[in-house]
Symmetry: C2
Subunit: 338 residues, 2 copies
Amino acid sequence: MAGIAGSDKPNIRQVADIAGVSHMTVSRVLNNYPNIRESTRTRVLEVIEELNYRPNSAARALASQRSRRIGVIVDSSSENGPASTLRSVELAARQAGYSVSSIALGSDVMSPQEALEHLTALGIDALCVIAPRSSSVSTLRTLAIGVPVLVIKADRDPTFLTVAVDQQQGTRLAVDHLASLGHRDVLHVAGPLDWLDARARERAFHSRARSWGIHERAIVIGDWTADFGYDFARTLTTLPDYTAMFVANDEMAFGVIHGLHENGFSVPRDISIVGFDDLAVSRHFLPPLTTVRQDFAALGERVVEALRAAVEGNEVPQRTAIPAELLVRQSTGPPRTT
Amino acid sequence: MAGIAGSDKPNIRQVADIAGVSHMTVSRVLNNYPNIRESTRTRVLEVIEELNYRPNSAARALASQRSRRIGVIVDSSSENGPASTLRSVELAARQAGYSVSSIALGSDVMSPQEALEHLTALGIDALCVIAPRSSSVSTLRTLAIGVPVLVIKADRDPTFLTVAVDQQQGTRLAVDHLASLGHRDVLHVAGPLDWLDARARERAFHSRARSWGIHERAIVIGDWTADFGYDFARTLTTLPDYTAMFVANDEMAFGVIHGLHENGFSVPRDISIVGFDDLAVSRHFLPPLTTVRQDFAALGERVVEALRAAVEGNEVPQRTAIPAELLVRQSTGPPRTT
DNA sequence: AGTTGTCGGCCTTGTTACGCT
DNA sequence: AAGCGTAACAAGGCCGACAAC
């Protein structure tokens, strides 16, 4: 088309013809087989460069029965955690030569089964499940999948590989921070308890609170949204008997602070607040939010490492925990002295 | 393997054998060809159901030279706008029977060329470019791509299809709001001007400000981050001679409010702030942020509609603009009277 | 007689082109 | 002409055969 003949996409045999070898030699060069003479390899690579040849991934997937694709099922992809995790998985996957196809569950009309259908129809070598509710995990447990499955969750699992940020340790950081400021009456605003992360934080909160002798009380169960936090805080018409809150994510924490403020209370003077996530805006909230940061980039890398090992038949780390980090800002202070 | 013979994935010929037809008939049933007797179609569909047969997408892509995949290049995928757009494109694509492969530009070591390389190596039927800088668009303009390309940007383009939220109209809403509150001295805090959206908002701001007789002044050019907004606001040790700011995105607006607050100024009493995006937390910021909302869901649908039409050879809408919406909250009020 | 390097043929699964009733 | 079939093809990978050193 462009004057020069053969501007169509070259295939492996054209490369072979020009290099004066068989198509299999080209294939071996491409796949780094050992038994190729150096001069042959160079010649082939030159022709590949010259023609700007790129192997056709569909043909490759068909012949090798390997798609080099990782399927990702992501629950509530609009939440910060899941979204960040997904992006980090995508990045790590690409760097490992894999592509990613993701399907969002949650608000869509999309069950785990359907999502899995879509992905297996696409042809995936491995499956990663992000930020799942326990119900999603249960469903997946009943399904025959045929490829390695990794679930991003904190607890060890008999069926799946797991990788996660250490929710327990992150929660400990938060509770220890409050306790060392002197708080002995702390409310936990949890996420929906069918979410594994929410459950893990809730359990860890109770356990750590107990060991500090923090007054045990009923927790509040939210839905991750700032709206919930706001509505809840607006119900507090008088100062409650606790002096701090450990809120399961930053968004709810924002809502809580907003609601408290509208009711005439001040953070941290009247109540201290610790969040979880460290959103980009958290340090610019009024007041800047003390929160627990999760290293999603590391998470994505561990995920891809593990799945890749599983796919390629190498030694697989059965479970990986990534440490969390506490960022102390201005939403926490000593308890009020009334 | 599992006792029953043939627990492996069935292929089209096995379906054909059991249904007593040729594999071509099965193919025709799958692709809704017209000339198939109803009874044959039913029989084939029954066998497909029974075997739980799913066509192999790699084989399909190889034979048909169509991957039913849309490649997406997304600039700064961590920003809210791009991220939301990407998710909406993914959703719309899946509903249209397409899959999506996305590559993030920006902080990564990844040029538009490389991204395009990756995607074309994967085999895509169409390309969508999200939230691009003008430099990315220029680069792409020089590249022969071979598939329909849609760029999400506000201006018409000779080379590419375009779809976008109407930045000009959205900006008008913001400026009109401030003007009708009485503001005649407004500062624009822009995004990086090599970003098409930032540039569009800046142009629209100037044009609309002029028609209201708003005092012309140098704009401030930021980088979309809350950190920038904060640093800028901290430089304002005394009240400036303007009474309102139109900030090009909510994140910077958060930073600005934070910085103003630390300098002892109050929003909106001393200065009114309008943002752009409507993040989930914007309504819970202190004060809740007046902002311009973009309908990303509609955006994704239009994108996929247009690309699909282009791929399948139907009538293509060359350019689509989606209206924006102003949300008036509490970060804006009448100008201070000093 | 072994290694090392290369070749041709057949395989993957579905679609396109054409042809026969 | 509606309804279906056969052959060729898409772009690679696997494997046995065989030549060269």
